[in-house]
Each structure stands twice: as structure tokens, then as C-alpha cells.
């Protein structure tokens, strides 16, 4: 059964020097960044931080140099990503663009789109959001109803997107919608590049989440006009474009580091005086983390080699989601200290934040049911 094997990451891919540079940068930039802000993980927003990071060459790392990128490999990018996440740096302003929208535009965009947009992504200047879910679709993308109708010089969009992360501040949205009726459940879908700052008739309203924060939005398109050159990729090919885009989203370190700030807080409390039972639980956590990280780096290595480790990526994400969701329970089993939202005790504040954030972890990039279905098919269940 080599089906579920993970190739070891290629030797010499630790990039210790790069890692050290990133750490030094983060130590300086985030010196006063408190644990309860680090707890937001990749949901923290700072245009300033993203720009500084880009100045160091750490945004668009794998993009070609002609589009402002740095032509580095996926494993170098991996080192930077995991250091940012582990430190709880506020990265959302460039994260989605860097991870998936940039690569999508590079793969499917027109020359003009690439030249116009990608260098600004690599400069850390553009925040992207993804217009995918709808009120009645959820995980079922085939139920998408938002419709683009072809008109003189472009398209008219009508429909509603929900759970659109950071739409209220983003510069662009990658919109997924119908451009035709099709009997095929997956047919007639397309993607558009929507300039949110320059397009009229888009109404963005906040959705407040469990922690009381505004990350999500509802985005209503009301006869919104998009010019022809907003079409991204082939008309009618949206479904397969999205499927390959989702592959970028899976298995990265963001799939198991979402609760990392709580782990650091927990270890801080236990460091000087842990019982054997506490040591054992921290050891178990360490073992899981060491192995998840190795698996995740392995997938990055396989992707870098041009392989298609989609089963492995789904497995890492499934294991990673279980891991990061379990951290508050683990913390509670070791320390009896109440969660206090926004309080002065940083452990209590981070615990409160993380407990309320946990249900959102599985909203990203496919629910557990869908993931497990992918794994089952990959295993050859007929």
C-alpha cells in the first residue's frame, strides 16, 4: 500500500538561514504584539505588515520574477509560511492572494491580468477575497445560483455570496458563478476577477462571528456590471479551475497551526512545574505536531516535484483539523483556569478566543464530510 505513503521532504530543505532571517524580522516587528492578537492566527489584518514582509521578498516567493516574484521554491515558501503562522503574525491582507489567487491568475489569467495584478500582490499591496459560498450552497458548489449574464462589453452579475472573509477591506474578489445553464451539475460555471474598489452596485454587509468579530461578510451583486476583461480563465471552465485552486488551499501549515497561540500559552504556564501527566500530554501534542509538520512538508515537496498528492493533502488536512480543534479541550484537561474574553490574563483571553474560533476552522476549504469523501475515493472505495 503505497497509496498513503508520504515521501520524506527532500534533504537540504530546512533552509535554516532563511528561517533565521524570518525569525529575526518577526521578533522585531511583533515585539509588542500580544498573545490575544496572535491568537487570531492568519485572520489578523495589517496592510502595513504585509507590505513590510513583501519588501523582504517573502510575498509571491514562488511567482516568476517577471511578475515581481522571487522564483523560489515551494519549500522555501513553506518555511516562511510556517514561521508566520507559528508567530501568529497578521497576514490575512496578503495571504489569500499569495496562496491561491496569485497562482490562479498566473495559471489562467490573460497577459494583461498578470501584468496588472500579480506584481502588486507580490508587493503585498493587494488583499483578495473569495466569492464562493452562497446562502443555499454551503459545501455544495453545484448549487451555486449567482449568475453572470453576458451583455454589451461585459457581464451583469446578480446573486448573493456569504461567508466572504474580509470582503469589507479587500481590493479584489475572485468570484465563482454561473455563466450558463447546464444539465451537467458542474457545467456552465466561470470565475471573475472583481475590482471591489472600482465596481458599483456591490453591497457588502458584515456577519458577526462567535467571537463577536467581523471577518465574514455577505456580498450582494445587484445588476453589477463587470467588463469583459474581468473574466478569469475560460468561460464555462470555472468548476475545474476551482478544483485545482482548492488544491493550493489544502495541506499547508495553516491546516494545523490555527490554535498555536493557545499551545504557546499553555506551555508557558506549564514550563516550570509540570506534573508527569502534563508532560505526557505535552509530549503527545509534540508528537502529533512533529508528524503533521513532516507530512505537510512532504506534500509541499511532492507539489514542488510536480506530483499530484491530492490524497495526501486531504489526509493532512483531516488530521490537522482534528489536531487544531482539540487544543482547547487539551488545555482544559491540564489546567483549571476559566476562559475570560478580552481579560488581562493572556492564557484566559487566548483560551476564550480560541474556543470561539474553533467551529470556524472546519468552514474553510471543505467540511470534514467532503474531505473524508475525497479520502475514501482516493483509497479506492467503489
Amino acid at each position: 500500500m503505497t497509496l498513503t505513503a508520504f515521501s520524506p521532504p527532500p534533504p537540504g530543505t530546512d533552509f535554516d538561514d532563511l528561517r533565521q532571517e524570518v525569525r529575526t524580522f518577526l521578533a522585531e516587528e511583533l515585539a509588542d504584539f500580544p498573545p490575544e492578537k496572535r491568537a487570531k492566527s492568519w485572520n489578523g489584518f495589517s496592510r502595513d505588515f504585509s507590505r513590510k514582509l513583501a519588501q523582504r521578498g517573502w510575498v509571491g516567493m514562488t511567482f516568476p520574477k517577471e511578475y515581481g516574484g522571487h522564483a523560489r521554491n515551494a519549500l522555501e515558501r513553506y518555511v516562511v509560511s510556517e514561521e508566520l503562522l507559528a508567530a501568529g503574525a497578521p497576514v490575512i491582507s496578503h495571504w489569500i492572494a499569495d496562496r491561491q489567487s496569485g497562482p490562479l491568475i498566473l495559471a489562467k489569467g490573460t497577459d494583461d491580468q498578470k501584468r496588472r495584478i500579480v506584481p502588486r500582490i507580490a508587493a503585498g499591496e493587494l488583499c483578495f477575497c473569495i466569492g464562493m459560498s452562497e446562502p443555499d450552497s454551503g459545501s455544495d458548489l453545484a448549487a451555486t445560483r449567482t449568475m453572470a449574464t453576458e451583455v454589451e462589453g461585459g457581464f451583469r452579475i446578480n446573486g448573493t455570496k456569504v461567508w466572504t472573509t474580509y470582503a469589507h477591506v479587500a481590493d479584489y474578489m475572485i468570484l465563482f458563478c454561473r455563466t450558463g445553464k447546464s444539465d451537467d451539475r458542474h457545467g456552465g460555471m466561470s470565475q471573475f476577477l472583481v475590482d471591489l474598489k472600482a465596481t458599483d452596485n456591490i453591497q457588502i454587509t458584515p456577519i458577526i462571528d462567535l467571537s463577536g468579530e467581523h471577518h465574514f461578510n455577505q456580498v450582494v451583486f445587484d445588476d453589477t456590471f463587470l467588463p469583459s476583461d474581468a473574466l478569469l480563465g475560460e468561460k464555462g471552465e470555472g468548476w475545474s479551475q476551482v478544483m485545482s485552486e482548492l488544491a493550493f488551499e489544502r495541506s499547508g501549515p495553516e491546516r494545523f497551526l490555527s490554535s498555536f497561540a493557545l499551545i504557546e500559552e499553555l506551555i508557558r504556564l506549564l514550563r516550570d512545574d509540570a506534573t508527569e501527566a502534563q508532560q505526557a500530554e505535552i509530549g503527545r501534542l509534540s508528537a502529533h505536531l512533529m508528524v503533521l509538520r513532516q507530512m505537510s512538508r512532504s506534500v509541499a515537496g511532492m507539489l514542488n516535484e510536480g506530483e499530484n498528492p491530492s490524497l495526501q493533502a486531504a489526509i493532512v488536512k483531516d488530521l490537522g483539523a482534528l489536531f487544531e480543534k482539540d487544543i482547547p479541550r487539551l488545555a482544559r484537561s491540564l489546567v483549571s483556569r476559566p476562559a475570560v474574553p478580552g481579560g488581562s490574563d493572556s492564557y484566559a483571553a487566548v483560551l476564550a478566543y480560541t474556543e470561539l474560533a474553533v467551529p470556524s476552522f472546519s468552514l474553510r476549504g471543505g467540511t470534514r464530510e467532503i474531505l473524508r469523501g475525497i479520502i475514501a475515493r482516493g483509497l479506492g472505495l467503489r
Partner: protein, 352 residues
């Protein structure tokens, strides 16, 4: 259990507790009008003896109100007031009416100063303190449990919130109390930590029943991939798990309520609070998994209910506190076998 007071409460909460009210309360607004109705219906006195103004129903029935309040997400200190009145009545102290609350007093230092008692120390995580007129607590003076009645207006209340945004305040105490405000308890009735754990266990059981109901409804209504998601085996398993956890929590809470004021109370309440906390974690997580993003939003009732059951885990002892207490008792019990400890710890039913 057929119960007139349960029916009355059920009607009152169903008609008056709205999603909007719960949201407003979570941002600091006390629903005064509903409180008046609750008090007029006498619910706050359900646990005091009939001659002190109670209904004369068994304690388990009176306490059953708190499960119903939990099921409706009532954002008011009914549970705290019910207990406060019962404790005051046991110590033959005045029942002032209005919203009261309770606090764990184990860490307070009491000293006799002439005829009066001086209390100092911290009261932490006191639910609804800033909405209450009085904080009732139990603390020890010279080896005897004393009931303290602390008028909020003379205290310095530092406001804080629980996970659900409900008031859970801190108070620094350094006060000499009026003679009538510090009275020895004529018989032990469990510390405020136990009584608090009981009310949270009951409320959590009720809230989980509502969460389960909501989730079943949603699974039947919501269509994905061409059929109601409740047809999917994974969703069915999740709902079955939720049902088991909810049923266990209610059974545990009612077992504790049934042994209120009996020797079995200390262990059954420990089991109830621990079991409710464990269940709350699972039930909340599964409910959100079933609902998907929709349940995550402030507009959805689930948002409020899961945050409340999670917040209650931290009130009056965490699971870790209560399981340690129960385990200590099990491991140090004089019984021959663990089994004898288990059978003996069970509620024997309320005394005749």
C-alpha cells in the same frame, strides 16, 4: 413529570424570551420587564419553604425550572436568585425580593469584630453581580458556615463577561457587615460552589435539549446534494451522539437535583457538573458542524446557546475541578470495592 409550575414557566419563557432579548442582554442590557413577570409569577421563591413564600413543591421540581430557563436561554439571574433565596431562608434571613446572585465564598476571610463580622478577599466570576441588589455567599467563621448577604450598592464591582458576553463580575471585599447580614447556617447545605454547579448543570441540560432540537430541525430542512442533510449517515451519527450527551447531562443534573439537601448531593453534583461540561463541548461542536457557517453568526440562536453552555463550563468549578474532587472521593473511599462506592454515591431519592 407533570408540573404546574413547569408549565407556567414554559409558557412565560416561550412567549417572552426572544432572540433579540438574548442579544441585547449579551451586550449589557437587562430585560427588566420580563424580570418583573418572573418575580410576579413567584418563580424566584420556588425553592424556599411554603411558609416563607414558596410553592411547597419538592426541591427537584422547583429546580426543574432552571432546566426550562436554560432551554429558553433566559438571560436573567433566575437560577441565582432561586438559590440565594433558599439559602437566606435556611438561615432565617430576610428575603428582600428583586434580583439576587450568589458567589463562591470559600476564599473569603471572616473575622469577628465585636458583634459584627468583617469580610475580606475576592469574589471572582460572580454572575450578574451588576444586575443584582444582593450577593449571597457562604463562608466559614470559626469552623461554622455563615451566610453573608452583601448589598451590591456598597461594593465595588469590576465588570467582566463570560464567553457568551453575560455579566460575570469581580468584587474586592473589605467590609464590616451589618449584624443581620452574616448569620450562621443552622445546617450544612453544600457550599455555594456546589449549589452553583447544580444550577449550571440544569441550565446546560436544558440548553443542550434546545440545541439538539434546533439541529434536528435544521438537518430535516436543509437540502444539500439534492437531499436533506439529515439523510446522511454522518449527520445522523452526529445527532445520535448529541442526543446521548444531552440525555446523559439531563439525567446527571436531575440526579443531583433529586439529592439536593441529602448526603448524596456532594458527589452527584460533582458528577453532574463534570458531565455537563464534557457534553457541552461535544454538543456545541457537533451542532456547529451540522449547521455549518449559518449557526456561527450572531443572527442565529445557536450562536447564543452554544456560547452560554460553553461559558457555564467555567462557572462554579471546571470539569477538571469536579472530576478531581470526585476521583479523590472514589480513591479514598472506605468501601471494599469501587463498585460499592458507585452504588453508594447514587441519589437515593429525596427524603420523605
Amino acid at each position: 413529570m407533570e408540573s404546574m409550575i413547569h408549565d407556567m414557566a414554559e409558557r412565560l419563557f416561550r412567549d417572552h424570551v426572544t432572540h433579540r432579548m438574548r442579544e441585547d442582554a449579551a451586550s449589557g442590557q437587562c430585560p427588566e420587564a420580563l424580570w418583573t413577570q418572573i418575580e410576579e409569577a413567584g418563580l424566584t421563591m420556588a425553592l424556599v419553604p411554603e411558609d416563607a413564600g414558596g410553592f411547597g413543591v419538592p426541591p427537584a421540581e422547583a429546580l426543574g425550572l432552571l432546566r426550562i430557563a436554560g432551554a429558553h436561554g433566559l438571560p436573567l439571574p433566575l437560577a441565582e436568585t432561586l438559590i440565594a433565596n433558599a439559602v437566606l431562608a435556611t438561615a432565617n434571613m430576610a428575603l428582600p425580593g428583586g434580583r439576587l446572585t450568589i458567589a463562591e465564598g470559600e476564599a473569603l476571610r471572616l473575622e469577628q469584630r465585636g458583634k459584627r463580622v468583617h469580610a475580606s478577599g475576592h469574589l471572582t466570576l460572580v454572575p450578574f453581580a451588576r444586575w443584582a441588589s444582593l450577593i449571597v455567599t457562604i463562608a466559614v467563621l470559626d469552623g461554622t458556615d455563615h451566610v453573608l448577604s452583601l448589598p451590591v450598592k456598597v461594593l465595588n464591582v469590576a465588570p467582566a463577561q463570560d464567553l457568551a458576553g453575560m455579566p460575570r463580575d469581580d468584587i474586592k471585599l473589605d467590609h464590616t457587615l451589618a449584624e443581620t447580614d452574616a448569620v450562621p447556617l443552622p445546617r450544612p447545605m453544600g457550599g455555594m460552589r456546589q449549589l452553583g454547579a447544580l444550577i449550571r448543570s440544569l441550565a446546560a441540560a436544558g440548553a443542550m435539549e434546545t440545541i439538539l432540537e434546533m439541529s434536528i430541525q435544521y438537518a430535516n430542512d436543509r437540502v444539500q446534494f439534492g437531499r436533506p442533510i439529515g439523510k446522511f449517515q454522518a449527520i445522523q451519527h452526529n445527532l445520535a451522539t448529541m442526543a446521548g450527551e444531552t440525555a446523559a447531562s439531563r439525567t446527571a443534573a436531575e440526579m443531583a437535583a433529586g439529592s439536593y439537601d441529602t448526603p448524596a448531593f456532594a458527589l452527584t453534583v460533582a458528577a453532574a457538573k463534570a458531565r455537563a461540561g464534557e457534553a457541552a463541548e461535544k454538543v456545541g461542536a457537533l451542532a456547529h458542524q451540522i449547521h455549518g457557517a449559518i449557526g456561527y453568526t450572531q443572527e442565529h440562536a445557536l450562536h447564543h446557546f452554544t456560547k452560554r453552555i460553553w461559558g457555564w463550563r467555567d462557572d462554579f468549578g471546571t470539569e477538571l475541578d469536579w472530576t478531581r474532587e470526585l476521583g479523590r472521593a472514589a480513591l479514598s473511599s472506605p468501601h471494599d470495592t469501587f463498585w460499592h462506592f458507585i452504588t453508594d454515591s447514587a441519589a437515593k431519592g429525596a427524603p420523605a
